[in-house]
Symmetry: C2
Subunit: 144 residues, 2 copies
DNA sequence: GTCTTGCCTGTTACAGTGTAACGATCGGCG
DNA sequence: CGCCGATCGTTACACTGTAACAGGCAAGAC
């Protein structure tokens, strides 16, 4: 990810090997990965990476917007947008193939802001996760 | 909850003591409760309720729309609406007081449907959870 | 009545998820 | 050099959730 590299220069020292490799592993996989799965992929014979280290790396990466946590799956995906400020994402999670698509919709953003303002609620973070079936899997199912 | 009682008659046999008491405990608390917290509240000296039983009761209650699971907290709240069919809720979770407010917005529903249709995604369940500060806590903070 | 069946519950055991605490290591700085 | 801050390794532990199996109980069949 080029965006990560750019950010890396800003925080020069902060983007350590473990954090970089954690991001790489998450980005290479096409589906959400659990922290323990990541630890396993980062481990080599004789060089084991503990899950707690992965959690710390993931904390760093999520704080800087490089990965997202999927609350309904206890898993992590790379950010594919580089959204600014309070811009939040909508995650489309396919129950068949397990893929996660991250989209941004100004329309949803607006209607959420509207509802929150009406309720007098000051938002800090937003979680919008939709489970269902992605377009590809729908087509596959109709054929088979 | 009257709604629960009404449903109880439909499923007469199904609404057992354990399930009823689980719903009561969740409804009495003003904030999301974890399954183990519920088990603790249901337990009496000499009569311990295991967490696994609570999970089964919660499965039943969520399937029938009497309680909701808060994915970002691994906790459960009573449903306060009795929403029909695919109508999904928006949860406003206060970081200060821990309260959860359940609201329904047709506007959000519409914009979500629109975005999903555009992406060719067939939704099955929706999770919308906003963390932030509720109106009451904002007022309290400004004073103190 | 008794037997079988299905559903709910109890119990144990275990897998998966996440954090606290402490120590070692490394780099920068006086 | 010694100090300080941040990162990382290691251990231990708490919390969340499920699988598997056995007992209880009500309802219907014989
Ligand atoms: Zn993103
Ligand atoms: Zn799919
Ligand atoms: Zn509800
Ligand atoms: Zn509050």
């Amino acid at each position: 990810m080029a965006r990560a590299e750019r950010l890396a220069q800003d925080l020069s020292l902060q983007f350590t090997t473990l954090r970089r490799r954690t991001l790489e592993v998450v980005a290479e996989e096409g589906r959400p990965l659990g922290a323990y799965d990541i630890a396993e992929r980062l481990s080599a014979p004789g060089k084991r990476v503990a899950a707690v280290s992965v959690y710390r790396a993931l904390d760093f990466l999520t704080e800087h917007g490089l990965v997202h946590r999927i609350a309904s799956r206890n898993a992590f995906v790379p950010c594919e947008h580089g959204h600014g400020a309070g811009e939040s994402a909508v995650f489309l999670i396919c129950r068949s193939c397990g893929s996660v698509d991250e989209t941004i919709s100004a329309e949803i953003e607006r209607s959420l802001d509207h509802t929150l303002a009406q309720a007098g609620f000051k938002p800090a973070s937003r979680i919008v996760e939709i489970e269902g079936e992605c377009g590809a899997c729908q087509g596959r199912q109709e054929e088979g």
